[in-house]
Subunit: 338 residues, 4 copies
């Protein structure tokens, strides 16, 4: 932690900071520049919030953290890429895992048809929501446990593990009973109670980046889960909010190589939510793979025109299938098995 003092700070004030640091268990290294004095705090800055404890002093101009605030999530904590097993499907280096399915489970017929079609095309994990987060209380909220049961049936029939979302703690045990991987959605990325509860499970968690969250915050939210003992976390980039309105969100693909540098956790990309427009999904899927992502989350609906939610961003099985064919070629080049 670097502490920058205001112009004209007295020696007495410098001493006060050094003293304060000592009480907090830190050493101090003082450096007097031409216009400013700077103090380096020496110690483990992740244990104490120095930014608050020192930044509040009136003669401190700013406090600059040096270390990323996460530990277990960091590349320094674990040098090799983590491999997360979802059912029997490993997500991690050397693989490119496509998770596909409808936005929401609407009926057994709809899900079975989609599951069979995406499996044929090469998808390895089935995705669909039984509990849906909707901005309007008047929108379709999902089939609930009935949806989970249909998902379980689809797993039985196709052999694909399933990933589905839990919206709150109270439904977590139920979702945990059925799902092979539990999704925590973008709007819940900083629902700290839900993160803690997910951390107490041992089931893989698919943690989506909030539309307002930095990569550092995404990794901090993952840290909430890991710090409770659950190391099975897959991150997901799904677009952030910007001033551009031609797409639903702005898919931030540079997040992929950035996360790879900073963390050992796998990261997948959701171009369906990331763009909100099915005609942009193939291009952004190819780009995600080329950028180094470990997989994709794709919305596919047997008949997008009849979908109860997210139709405009869903692909139909034929579009999905032709996209998969091209993905396989690029995956071959990148040394990733699909």
């Amino acid at each position: 932690m670097i502490i920058v003092l205001r112009h004209g700070t007295s020696q007495q004030e410098v001493d006060e900071i050094v003293d304060r640091l000592k009480k907090l268990g830190f050493g101090a290294h003082i450096s007097k520049g031409t216009e400013r004095t700077i103090i380096g705090a020496i110690g483990d800055e992740r244990q104490v919030n120095l930014e608050e404890k020192i930044g509040v002093l009136p003669f401190v101009e700013k406090v600059i953290p040096i270390l990323a605030p996460y530990k277990l999530t960091s590349r320094e904590f674990r040098l090799e890429d983590s491999v997360i097993e979802v059912g029997k499907v490993p997500i991690g280096p050397g693989k490119f895992v496509v998770m596909a399915g409808p936005c929401a489970v609407e009926s057994e017929k709809q899900l079975m048809e989609t599951a069979n079609r995406v499996k044929e095309a090469g998808a390895m994990i089935l995705r669909a929501g039984a509990f849906k987060p909707r901005t309007s209380p008047y929108s379709f909220q999902g089939l609930g446990e009935k949806g989970l049961k249909i998902l379980a049936k689809a797993r039985e029939e196709t052999g694909m593990p399933i990933v589905t979302e839990a919206l709150g703690i109270e439904e977590l045990p139920l979702v945990n009973e059925y799902a092979d991987m539990i999704q925590i959605g973008a709007r819940n990325m900083q629902n700290f109670r839900l993160l803690e509860a997910a951390g107490r499970l041992r089931k893989p968690i698919l943690l989506k980046r909030g539309m307002m969250s930095t990569v550092d915050e995404l990794l901090m939210s993952a840290e909430y889960i890991l710090s409770q003992g659950n190391y099975n976390v897959v991150l997901c980039e799904r677009g952030i909010r910007t001033f551009e309105s031609a797409t639903r969100n702005t898919l931030d693909l540079s997040c992929v190589p950035l996360v790879k540098k900073q963390s050992h956790l796998p990261i997948v990309v959701d171009p369906s939510h990331g763009t909100g427009r099915s005609e942009l999904v193939p291009a952004m899927s190819f780009a995600a793979l080329a950028a180094g992502a470990d997989g994709l989350l794709i919305e596919v609906h047997p008949n997008p025109i009849e979908a109860l939610s997210d139709g405009p961003q869903s692909q139909d099985p034929a579009q999905f299938s032709s996209m998969m064919a091209e993905l396989k070629k690029i995956a071959g080049l990148k040394g990733r098995a699909m």
Copy 2:
């Protein structure tokens, strides 16, 4: 709802849309322009998500909603400004209510001292957190129920009602036992399970705008609470996220007159979180009052230098007191009692 068709759409396709609209209970009004055909869907668009159901058709270029998607929250639903009673303190027209206190309850001594000082200066509601949302799992998380008990004692001693945050459903009953108004924080603005649960109470809810949420989404989240029967909602602007990094957030004061036009609910402003810098708090507090806000949420700490959280944005009692004196003058001009 306006449906814009792609260039070159055939009559048969137009008929298909009209037919589809009819099945969904809508009339259709067709208008052929120079380059595009446009269809007006006639019916209550808030009952059916036409954007999804029609937007998904391949010959539809876009679907444009005409009505705001909220009802109970809207100014059209209720023309007069709502007055929300917190304890015996009314928030609404003709009043300007300052809620003040430390970010977190740290100890009985700290809270009592703050409570007495802010009351002296004219604050009407006491604020402080017992459960704290923190981006890091390693930061101070609040005193929990012990903090709530200290808050109750401060209410007893000072007569001020208290507002404090609930982070999740599981602690909502406990917070409800102690608080006069329950805060739902910015990160939980779209925690729909928590909104629903808050809607089943009858206690006033202080709903903070998410840092990446539009005003329309804020009103939709309020609608979640009202739609469950709890009409006691106070909105709070606390800054949104932008590229500007000199302030912690960008306080969006134009949100105040905008909410006033679109909704009957009161709106207060939190310049402490909105700027993150205590030296900017007075200017932004004056501005909020001048812009028409119904009140403020201000962080005050008896000794910001020793605060366990948010010290840099907290005012000390003397700063707060002098700010209150100037606020009273402006409130007088604006016809608002403090």
Copy 3:
């Protein structure tokens, strides 16, 4: 400047940096922390771009500047608030200067009528564009020199000095001939050639903040002008771009107290562009004054319904007049003459 080294940097590499700093004229102060070594560069970091010269070294993790990169613009360079004289109207402490007029000069009749009406209501400077920046090449581009002549006539008749925009260097001499203050628009805030040319004049410059520029960048653009010898700069906040689409821009009023802390230059606010909605202009004008702004830039049109540009955000003379009456009351409280 603080240089943070990567984990595991060798002594030889540290020496290489120290050596490099020495050649650039800087001293070095080394501080070895628990996990990182940090070097403080001692010298005038505004003369050399260390962020580039040192940040490029492979064993450097990041370079953190300590000083703001502007000098002449800074509060440290000049402690007292600057007063800029526009014609005979001073902008600065103790005053609140309202500049009003139509978006564009459309005709002599339109301008004269507006000028007389805004003067009656208390405006002190007349604003109107003769050269208009338009996103579409097919939109009305302004009357050019004819517009400037009409402006000069309005000045003669009303005695009000005039502020009008120059879009490029080639029209700067012409605008300089007629205007009392030359506006550089938001889209030109980083048109460095235009800034340099404006710096070679001695006429007051109204520099608008770019819609995606930080406050630091605004001050750097001002520095371009001051560094050429023209110290007559008035800054203008006119809204930044965010994800919120209910307003044309998000007016960042916290920019006002922030600029006051960091710079001696006056700052005015343009709520007409900042909100894009005339019904929000009064509330945001009151807020700007309360936040400490030195003045306002307001669009007024005798008949907004017939305006050739920006009608929706223009006030009519009656609205303007009633807003001015309320502004005067608040100005009184704030010790600012109008």
Copy 4:
């Protein structure tokens, strides 16, 4: 153009709008919904700014444009992809053109060495700045004409055409004398005077997207150039500004397929500025190609550690060369010659 009237608008007011539209040369189509009346304006809305002329009426709630405001730039104007010839290098379908070179020309030795190295690795166009836009007036501003002469020499030696930036109108003739393609930088994307002047040339223009600009605005700025008769425009995505601070900008790759849908102009990507971090450049280059871009703009410096500008985002020749090898493989798959 769709005109949405406020709740409760009278028949007389509807008539007033229809009348007004008629005078502006538009037909009107009235559609009365359950809660709102809507009027479709029939005519060429690109000729008249109805949003301003009608939106200003007090009983109009909003005006919604239906057509994109550009013509010559649009895919509807020209169905096939345009091919732009830079020297003898075509940019367009079936090709993938890498333009590489240092941020700035620093010396003959530096440029010659870079030119030879990037040519060896497969680059087809040489890029380097002689006039540099710098946020600080105290930073290195480029070698000016001397730099252009060095560029010309490098072209002679290597046979590669050159692309370099013009910052203002006054240097445009000079740059035009030397360059094969003239760059208009991000900060100048809405410098309308410069766009007009570039439109009067016939030389290819590389137009970079502003960091605050939507894709629609980028296409409108291109329209400024095309509307003056210069159809030789190549667009460039170089990152937009968001709240994420770990990268210099957020590279918006979904811009690539979006532009391809809406326009016939080629689009290239600049991952060096888009990320600001050389270690992220390869991943984002692969992603850009996979997303359908027509080429790249890459900063390469023979010795990034000694670069006078943008060192941290420059690749060295070895990194560049190995990246080119992998790009060629992906280009093969995508049917693009390199």
